[in-house]
Point group: C2
Chain length 219, copies 2
C-alpha cells in the first residue's frame, strides 16, 4: 500500500518537473523528441542518420541515456553536435530531473532540435514524461509483429512509430503489415515510417516530416 503511494508521488513529482522542462523548451523554441525502444532496435543509428540529414538545416543537440557506458554518446559526438551523456547506473528509464540537469550544460539558445535517446527498455520509460513534444518509438522488424500488443503503453503514448531494419524483412518471418495494423489498433493516431537506418533507407521521409514540424512551429 505504502509502496503504491510512494510510486504515485514519484510519478507526480516527475510530471511537475516535466512540465517545467516543457516550459523551458517552449521558451527557447526547441522541438524535443524522446526516442524510446527495446535494446538494439536502432535508436542510435537512427539518431546518427537524422543528424547527418538535418545538421546543415537545423541546430541539433543530443541527450544520451544509458544504464552504463558512454558508447552511444561517443558515437553521436563524431557527428559534430553537442552531446550530454546520462548514465542511470542501473536505472531503467530517464526521468525529467535527469534531463533538466543534462540540458543545464547545453546552450539552449543555440539549439532548434533536441533529441533525447532514452534507455533501451520498451516498458518503464512509458511512464516518465521528460517534457518532450513527441515520443518516437523505434521497433525493429526482427522483434516481431506482436510487440505493439504486448507492450501497449509505449505505443499508446508515442506520436511516431519508426519500424526500423526493414532490410531484414526478407530473412525474418515477420509481416510488416501486421506490425502496422497492431500499432494502429493500439493507437490509431500513430504516424508510421519505415527505415533501414544503417543504409539510410527511409530516413529522408522521416526527416522531411520532422523538418515540416520544425518549420510549422511545433509549440
Amino acid at each position: 500500500m505504502s509502496v503504491v503511494t510512494i510510486e504515485r508521488k514519484v510519478l507526480q513529482k516527475n510530471d511537475e518537473l516535466a512540465a517545467a522542462n516543457r516550459e523551458l523548451f517552449a521558451r527557447n523554441g526547441l522541438l524535443v523528441l524522446n526516442i524510446v525502444s527495446s535494446p538494439g532496435a536502432g535508436k542510435t543509428t537512427l539518431l546518427e542518420a537524422t543528424i547527418e540529414a538535418l545538421r546543415d538545416k537545423v541546430r541539433i543537440a543530443v541527450v544520451e541515456g544509458d544504464v552504463q557506458t558512454d558508447i552511444d554518446a561517443q558515437r553521436v559526438a563524431q557527428y559534430g553536435v553537442p552531446v550530454v551523456q546520462i548514465v542511470t547506473n542501473g536505472g531503467c528509464h530517464l526521468e525529467a530531473s535527469l534531463v533538466a540537469d543534462a540540458v543545464g550544460s547545453l546552450d539552449l539558445d543555440q539549439v532548434d532540435l533536441l533529441l533525447i535517446e532514452n534507455v533501451g527498455n520498451l516498458v518503464c520509460p512509458a511512464n516518465f514524461d521528460l517534457g518532450e513534444a513527441l515520443k518516437v518509438v523505434v521497433l525493429s522488424t526482427t522483434e516481431g509483429a506482436d510487440k505493439p500488443l504486448k507492450y501497449p503503453a509505449m505505443f499508446r503514448k508515442a506520436g511516431v512509430l519508426i519500424v526500423n531494419k526493414v532490410d531484414l524483412l526478407p530473412y525474418v518471418n515477420v509481416d510488416i503489415a501486421a506490425i502496422k495494423r497492431h500499432a494502429h489498433q493500439i493507437n490509431p493516431r500513430l504516424v508510421i515510417f519505415e527505415t533501414a537506418a544503417t543504409s539510410r533507407f527511409g530516413v529522408a521521409e522521416w526527416c522531411d516530416w520532422l523538418m515540416a514540424k520544425l518549420t510549422a512551429g511545433h509549440a
Copy 2:
C-alpha cells in the same frame, strides 16, 4: 530517501519469497530456469524449441510472464505442456510472489523442468530473484555486440547466454566474437550457446547441456 528505503524493502521481501520458492522447487526436485531478454530476442521460440526437443525425456511446465496479452502462453500451450500465464498489467518484471502464485496451480510432483519466461526487459528483471536455479539471458544478434557492456547487470547475474538469430549474422553488421568477448568481460563464467531458434539450429547443444544438468542432479 524514503523511496530508496521502500525499494530496499521491496527487494528484501522479494528475496525472502524467492528463497521460499527455491526451497519448494528443491523439495520437488525441480530444475527452474528464469529466461530473460529484450523484447523480441526469441525467448518464446527458444522455449518452443526446447520443449519440442525435451518433452519426451522430461516433464516440462512453463510460466509465461507478459506485460499484456496471453499470446505467448497460447503459443506454448500448443506443445502440450502445462502453462500458467502471468499478466503483469504494465509491470516491468516478474517477482517471486507472482511466481509462487503461478506454480500454486501446477502439480509440481509431475514436473522435472520449469521454464519461466520473464517480461521482455533487459534491465529490471535482473534485480528480482524468482527462486530459479539459473538465469538464462537470450540476446539476438540483431541487437548488437555492445549490449553486454550497456546492460551489464543481467549478464552478470546469468549463468547461460544464448546468442539467438545467428542465421541473421550475414545480414547485420555484428561480430559474434565481440558479443562473446563483451559477455565474458562482464561475466567470465557465462556458458554461451549459439542458436537460430526458428530453424532449431544449435538447439540440440543447448538441450544436451540442459539434460546433463538435469541428470547430474542440479540441487
